[in-house]
Structure formats: structure tokens, C-alpha cells
Symmetry: C2
Subunit: 174 residues, 2 copies
């Protein structure tokens, strides 16, 4: 399955770190790319820097016109999943979503425009309590891949060897 994450409502003055975490989670939990509403060179750079050091082919694009992206994605046969605390329970829909070939996972900041709820094929809640788009994306992808995403080898220059104490990092050179 090919997965695009669409990050809505990024405001550079306050969302830098949250959007960076959304991007890092997208990559680490098996998505293929992130599209970011708004321009933020520092977020893009820090995400690309992680890809360069830690591997994988994750791509990062900012400054996108999100309504166009959603429409184009839908019209080309992709399915749209909007993560929201108001949506249906994840357990009820994850099986259906798992059978798709391409999905776009939309994660908003505080206010998401109503048309996102309408264009989405599924509005999905990871719990119906207020928490975090970073957490929602992580748990959604973890359930989607049934935990297998955590075993993926990214083939990067740097690789952690799991350890009971301290830090063991393999540097495979360039």
C-alpha cells in the first residue's frame, strides 16, 4: 500500500515541532511521503536530514494547495482517510482501509475545514478524546500495518542496535 500523509493547518510560528513530529512519525511508521500546507523550510530541512541519515525513500513537500491535492488524489482512484476525534472507531474501519491500494491520511491542526469531513472516504477516530495528531497518526499506522512497520529496515547510514542500556548505533558510512 502506498501512503501519503497530508498535514493541514501548519502555522510556522507555533506548529514547527508538531509538524516535524507528524513527518517523523509518518516516515517511521511506514508512510511514503508527507505534503504540508504552508511553507516552512526549517521543517522540510529537518525531515530531509533524518531521511539522509536514517534511510528510506520518504519524500517531503511543503506549500501545497491542499484542496487540489485531495481532489486530484480522489479523482485518480485513491482513498482518503481523515483522522479526527469525531470520527468512527478505528477498529470498525481499519480492515476496509487495509484493502486499499493508495490512501491519503489527512491530519489537521486545531480547526479543520468542514469540507475535509465531506471529501474523506473515512473519518476515523483513534479514541474519541482530545489528544494529538502525532499520536493519532502513529496508532493509525501501527494498527494498519499490525505492528510490522516497527521491524522495517530503512537501510540508512545510521542504524540502532536495540540495547537494554545505553545507545548502540551502527554507522554504515556512505
Amino acid at each position: 500500500m502506498r501512503i501519503t500523509v497530508l498535514r493541514l493547518g501548519h502555522r510556522p510560528e507555533r506548529d514547527k515541532r508538531i509538524t516535524t513530529h507528524v513527518g517523523l512519525v509518518a516516515r517511521a511508521f511506514g508512510a511514503d511521503e508527507i505534503l504540508i500546507e504552508g511553507r516552512d523550510e526549517s521543517v522540510v530541512e529537518s525531515l530531509r536530514d533524518v531521511v539522509n541519515r536514517w534511510g528510506g525513500s520518504f519524500s517531503v513537500t511543503d506549500g501545497i494547495a491542499w484542496r487540489d491535492e485531495l481532489r486530484r488524489f480522489r479523482d485518480s482512484g485513491g482513498k482518503i482517510v481523515h483522522l479526527t476525534m469525531y470520527g468512527r472507531r478505528i477498529d470498525e474501519v481499519i480492515g476496509e482501509i487495509r484493502s486499499c491500494e493508495r490512501i491519503m491520511v489527512v491530519v489537521g491542526a486545531e480547526k479543520v475545514p468542514p469540507d475535509v469531513y465531506d471529501i474523506a472516504d473515512w473519518n476515523v477516530a483513534v479514541g474519541n478524546q482530545p489528544h494529538s495528531e502525532v499520536a493519532a497518526l502513529a496508532v493509525f499506522l501501527d494498527r494498519l500495518f499490525m505492528g510490522e512497520e516497527l521491524e522495517k529496515d530503512f537501510g540508512g547510514r545510521l542504524k540502532v542496535i536495540p540495547a537494554a542500556r545505553g545507545k548502540v548505533v551502527l554507522d554504515r558510512g556512505l
Copy 2:
């Protein structure tokens, strides 16, 4: 099981939103309290505000002396789990951790002092790639409770009724 989350390395000038997300995730995914290193009235207030509106008995304390808290917790028989990308694979240890009565889950910001790795009963990795302490905490608690935490009724004034489209919120008054 009683769960305390300990948030290390909070810097009010840059971590406000990430620490708020850590706290919201702790509550929404079934932890009982959060202790925050450093003082930050705005983070504490926004977390307590969510508890007041959305329910549960989650408690929030900032300005704690974290080494004292860790030592006291350990000496009173509690077990310490440190979430780090360098730790052991979550699947290998979650069963053992699930049998504890009380755990303290430590989540750091960028740099975590080496003694945290030493005092922890388990250093646990939610994947060995760089991502987010918000995501790590969410997936850790989701695995710990095997998804049941998402079904918890918090008994708050506000309650979401899961919906395929739009927002349905029950306001149960005071």
C-alpha cells in the same frame, strides 16, 4: 495498573505544545497522572482544562525534582519504563511490563541524561527510528492496554458520539 508519566526536559520556550500533547496522550490512553520537569503554568492549565471538560481523574504536576521522583518511585516498589529509540523492542518486553502494579513511564525531549537509562527497569523502543515522544507514548500505552484504553468512558461533561461525517458532541451539563 497505575501509570505515572514523567516528562523530562520541558523547555517552556519551545516544548509547550509537545509537552501538552504528551499530557493529552497520557490521559487519553489511560495513564493516571503526569509529572513535568520545569514549571509551565500554561501547559498545566490547558491539560487541567481538558480534564474538567472531558472527564477522568488525570492529575498534572509541574516543577518536580525528577531524580527524587524516580528514586522514590523505585524505592516504593514501582517499576520504571524509559521510552527511547535505543531501547529493546517493545514486543519483547510488553508482556513483562503488563504484569506490574505501578509503572512510571519516562519520556524525554532531545537529550536524556545517562542515569535515566541506568535507573530504568526497561529501556523500551517503539521502533528504532527517530520519531516522537508523543507517538512513542501513545503506541506504548495502546500495546500495554491492547486497545481497550480507546473504549474507556471518561464520564466527563463532554462526550463525542462517533460519526461517519461531521461532529456530534453530547454536552451532559454540570
